[in-house]
C-alpha cells in the first residue's frame, strides 16, 4: 500500500472540466460540466481504499466513501449509486453543493501529501450517470403500515424524511408554502450551481414512490400543525428552514435598490427572472452591484448579478479572506468570473437620490482584533477610515433567522432564544407530542447535508414511534 500511496499522491487530481470564466459569467448554464467515465475512473483510482477511512468521519451522514469509489473504479455504476443512496438520498445535490474541503476531502489521507481525492466530483458523477443511463428502478417499499405522516417544508431535510418514511411503508404528504418543491435548492442556490431539473427529478422520484406533494400550503396559515394532527396525520416533521432575511439595520436600508439575498435569489431562481420579459417577474439590474456578506449566499448573489449584466460586482465583508464562510470552490469561481472581494470593510450608511434610489454607501475600513465568541477574530473599525462606495444595487446576504410564521401559531412547540425550534439533537423530537423538527429551523442556517442528516435521524425516530409508540 505504501507504494500505491506514493503513486497516488503524485498523480494530480483530475480537474473537473468547466465553462470558461468569461463565457459562463454571462450565462446561467452549469459551471462544471462533469467528468467523463474515463476521468471518473482515473480519479477513483487515486483512492487508497483505506482500511480506516478518515474521509468517512468527515461525512455528516457517513457515506461509505471507499466503498462507492471502489465500485465505480470497477465499472459497477449501478452498485456505486446503490451504495451512495443507502446513506444519502440526494447525491446529485450533495456532490455539487457540500463543503467537501471541510468535510470528507478535508480529512482524506491522500490530501496530506498532495491533493485529496475529489470525492464530491465522484459522487456527482455517479448520480449523474445513473440519472442519464440508469433504469429508473425504484427501491423496494415495505408493506403499508396504515400510518400517515405530514412533512412541512420540501427542502433537503423534508425530502429526506419523506423518502425514508415512504420506503418504510408510511403514507407521506409534503406541505410546501411555495408553488414549487425543493426549498433552498430551488429558490436559493442558482441554476449555474445546481440545475433545477435535477431537483425536480429528485422530487419526482419521491412522487413515483408515492409521496404526495401539496404546494401552496403555508402551514400556520392555510392549515395548522394541530389541524394536521386532528385530520388524521399520526406524525408531523417540520423542516421549514431558516427563511427570515436579516438586514444590517443601518440608515437608508429601505431605499429602492436594496434587496435581501432571499428576494434577489428567489426572483432569479424560483421565478426565473433572468428570462424577463419572457417570464413576468422582473429583477433589478444593477450596473455597479454590492453584495454584503461572504457566505455561499453572498457568492450566489454576486455571481447572479454578474450574469444579469452588471459591470462591476463587489463582495463587501468585514473580516478577512480567511474567515469567509463560503465554499472554497465558490469563492474561486466568483473571482475567476471577475467579482471583486472588498475585505475588512463594513458599510455604515446607505445614500440615495431624490427618487429614493440607492446611489452609494458609506463604509469603514476594519482591522482584526481578538477572537470573539465564534472563535473568529473580531473586526474593529479603524477610526477616520470612512470612504464612499458607489453602487446602484445592494444585496444583503448577512445571514438569516427563523421565520416565526408557523411557530407563532403553534405554542406547544418550545423555541430557543434565537427563535429556532428546540428539538432533541439525537432524534429531532420537539416538545409537542407527535411532532419532529430538523434542518435549518433547528440549527440555524447550516448546510444541505446537515439538514439531510437531521432528517434521517428524525425519520428513524418517527418510524419507531409509528410502529412502537412515543
Amino acid at each position: 500500500m505504501a507504494e500505491k500511496a506514493a503513486k497516488n499522491t503524485k498523480n494530480p487530481r483530475i480537474a473537473m472540466p468547466e465553462q470558461e470564466p468569461k463565457v459562463r459569467a454571462r450565462n446561467f448554464l452549469e459551471v462544471p460540466t462533469g467528468y467523463t467515465v474515463k476521468m471518473a475512473q482515473e480519479e477513483a483510482a487515486r483512492c487508497l481504499q483505506c482500511k480506516k477511512p478518515a474521509c468517512v468521519q468527515g461525512c455528516p451522514v457517513g457515506v461509505d466513501i471507499p466503498g462507492f469509489i471502489d465500485l465505480l473504479s470497477q465499472g459497477d455504476m449501478t452498485g456505486a449509486i446503490r451504495n451512495l443512496w443507502s446513506k444519502n438520498a440526494l447525491p446529485a445535490v450533495c456532490g455539487r453543493v457540500c463543503p467537501q474541503e471541510s468535510q470528507c476531502e478535508g480529512l482524506c489521507i491522500v490530501g496530506r501529501k498532495g491533493e485529496p481525492v475529489a470525492i464530491g466530483n465522484l459522487e456527482r458523477f455517479c448520480a449523474d450517470y445513473e440519472r442519464e443511463n440508469g433504469t429508473g428502478e425504484l427501491p423496494p417499499k415495505a408493506e403499508p403500515t396504515g400510518k400517515k405522516v405530514a412533512v412541512v417544508g420540501s427542502g433537503p431535510s423534508g425530502l429526506t424524511v419523506a423518502g425514508d418514511l415512504i420506503v418504510k411503508g408510511h403514507d407521506v404528504t409534503i406541505f410546501e408554502a411555495f408553488h414549487k418543491p425543493g426549498g433552498v435548492l430551488v429558490y436559493g442556490i442558482p441554476e449555474f450551481r445546481l440545475p433545477k431539473a435535477i431537483v425536480a427529478q429528485e422530487v419526482n422520484f419521491l412522487e413515483r414512490l408515492g409521496v404526495k406533494v401539496e404546494c401552496n400550503a403555508v402551514v400556520g396559515k392555510t392549515v395548522s400543525i394541530q389541524e394536521l394532527l386532528d385530520e388524521g396525520f399520526d406524525a408531523v416533521y417540520i423542516g421549514v428552514g431558516a427563511g427570515l432575511p436579516r438586514f444590517m439595520n443601518i440608515p437608508g436600508e429601505n431605499l429602492v435598490g436594496i434587496l435581501s439575498a432571499n428576494e434577489y435569489l428567489t426572483r432569479a431562481n424560483l421565478m426565473k427572472a433572468y428570462e424577463y420579459p419572457k417570464v413576468d417577474t422582473p429583477i433589478p439590474k444593477g450596473k455597479n452591484v454590492t453584495v454584503l456578506g461572504a457566505g455561499n449566499v453572498a457568492m450566489d448573489a454576486a455571481r447572479t448579478a454578474m450574469r444579469l449584466g452588471a459591470e462591476k460586482v463587489r463582495v463587501v465583508y468585514r473580516r478577512s479572506r480567511e474567515e469567509m464562510p463560503a465554499r472554497a470552490a465558490e469563492i474561486h469561481h466568483a473571482e475567476e468570473e471577475g467579482i471583486e472581494l472588498f475585505l475588512l470593510t463594513n458599510p455604515t450608511k446607505y445614500i440615495g437620490d431624490e427618487n429614493g434610489r440607492l446611489t452609494g454607501m458609506e463604509c469603514l475600513k476594519m482591522e482584526l482584533g481578538e477572537p470573539d465568541a465564534s472563535g473568529r477574530r473580531r473586526p474593529v473599525a479603524i477610526e477616520g477610515s470612512e470612504f464612499h462606495l458607489e453602487t446602484d444595487l445592494c444585496i444583503v446576504a448577512v445571514g438569516s433567522g427563523a421565520n416565526p410564521l408557523l411557530t407563532a401559531e403553534t405554542p406547544d412547540i418550545k423555541l430557543n432564544r434565537w427563535g429556532n425550534i428546540d428539538a432533541d439533537e439525537a432524534n429531532g423530537k420537539t416538545t409537542m407530542r407527535g411532532v419532529w423538527a430538523g434542518g435549518d429551523i433547528v440549527t440555524g442556517a447550516a448546510t444541505v447535508i446537515l439538514a439531510m442528516g437531521a432528517g434521517r435521524a428524525a425519520a428513524n425516530s418517527m418510524h419507531d414511534y409509528l410502529t412502537l409508540g412515543w
Partner: protein, 278 residues
C-alpha cells in the same frame, strides 16, 4: 388548478371580479387577509385581498384593477379557466371591535378590500358611515354592496359626474366635524390614505390603513414588502397589511412601489401588442 367559477367586469372593464374555487382558503380566511395568485408557469406572484369568501361553496372572491401585465393576463382568464397557484390566507386579519361611530373610506379598488371589513364592523354593532370615491361615475364599484354593508353611504366623484363633486377627504372632514368618531378605516391609493391620515391626525381619531407594497412570497421570507411604521421596519405581508395610518411613511412606500416601473411598462406594452395582434 384553481378554477374560476364566476367573472364580472366593473368600472368599464378596468376592474375585474373573479370567484375562484379554493376550499381550504375559503374555510380559513378572515376579513383583511389576502392571497397570492400566479396565473401560469411563467407568471408573477401577485397579492390581492379577498373581497369575499364562501366557506360552504369553497370559493373566494378577488376584485382587482387591471394595471400592468400580470393583471392584464388575469383579465384574460375566463370562467372555467383557472389560476395555476393560489396561496393563502396571508397577512393578519383585521381587528374588528365595537367602538361606536366609525368611518370607512374607500378609493378605487380599495373599495373591494374595504367591503368585508365594513360589513364586519357593522355586524358587530358599530355605526358605520362609508365614503367611497372614484374619478368618475363609470369607475365607481360596489355601490350597492357598500350600501348594504354600512349604515350610511356617501359617494364622491372627482369630476362631479355622480354624488359629491370632489374628494372623499372633503366628505370625511364633514363627518368628522359632527364629532364622536372613534375610528377611521381608509383603503385605496397611497396618496388617498396619506391624505386621510393627515386629516384624522388633526382630529386625533385612530386610523387604520391597508398597505400594498410589492411582494414576492407573502410569508416573511424575502423582505421585499418592507414598510416603515413609526420609524421601524415592518414586513407588510406578516406584520400587516393593516397598520396605524398615523405612523406610516407613505412617501417611502410610494417610491418603493415605483421600483420596477420601467421594466413593468415595457413588459405590459409588449404583452398588449401581442394580445391585440391576435
Amino acid at each position: 388548478m384553481f378554477k374560476i367559477v364566476r367573472r364580472e367586469e366593473m368600472a368599464e372593464g378596468t376592474v375585474i371580479l373573479n370567484e375562484i374555487e379554493a376550499p381550504l382558503i375559503a374555510k380559513k380566511a378572515k376579513p383583511g387577509q389576502f392571497v397570492i395568485l400566479k396565473a401560469n408557469e411563467e407568471g408573477e406572484r401577485i397579492p390581492l385581498t379577498m373581497a369575499d369568501t364562501d366557506p360552504e361553496k369553497g370559493t373566494i372572491t378577488i376584485i382587482y384593477m387591471v394595471v400592468g401585465k400580470s393583471t392584464a393576463i388575469f383579465r384574460d382568464l375566463k370562467v372555467g379557466d383557472g389560476y395555476q397557484d393560489v396561496i393563502g390566507p396571508l397577512g393578519k386579519a383585521t381587528h374588528i371591535e365595537k367602538v361606536g361611530k366609525v368611518i370607512c373610506v374607500g378609493g378605487g379598488t380599495g373599495v373591494a378590500v374595504l367591503h368585508p371589513i365594513t360589513r364586519a364592523l357593522k355586524e358587530i354593532g358599530n355605526d358605520v358611515t362609508c365614503i367611497i370615491g372614484a374619478r368618475n361615475k363609470g369607475l365607481l364599484i360596489m355601490e350597492e354592496q357598500m350600501k348594504d354593508a354600512s349604515n350610511d353611504l356617501r359617494v364622491c366623484t372627482d369630476d362631479g359626474s355622480y354624488g359629491h363633486h370632489g374628494f372623499v377627504t372633503e366628505v370625511m372632514k364633514e363627518v368628522l366635524e359632527g364629532g364622536d368618531v372613534k375610528l377611521v378605516v381608509a383603503i385605496g391609493p397611497v396618496p388617498m390614505m396619506k391624505a386621510v391620515s393627515n386629516i384624522t391626525k388633526d382630529y386625533d381619531v385612530p386610523t387604520m390603513v391597508s398597505l400594498n407594497p410589492i411582494m414576492v412570497d407573502g410569508t416573511g421570507m424575502c423582505g421585499g414588502c418592507r414598510v416603515t411604521i413609526g420609524g421601524e421596519t415592518k414586513f407588510a405581508c406578516v406584520d400587516g397589511p393593516e397598520f396605524d395610518g398615523h405612523k406610516v411613511d407613505y412617501d417611502e412606500l410610494m417610491l418603493r412601489l415605483r421600483a420596477y416601473q420601467e421594466e413593468e411598462k415595457k413588459c405590459h406594452d409588449e404583452y398588449c401588442t401581442i394580445r391585440d395582434a391576435n
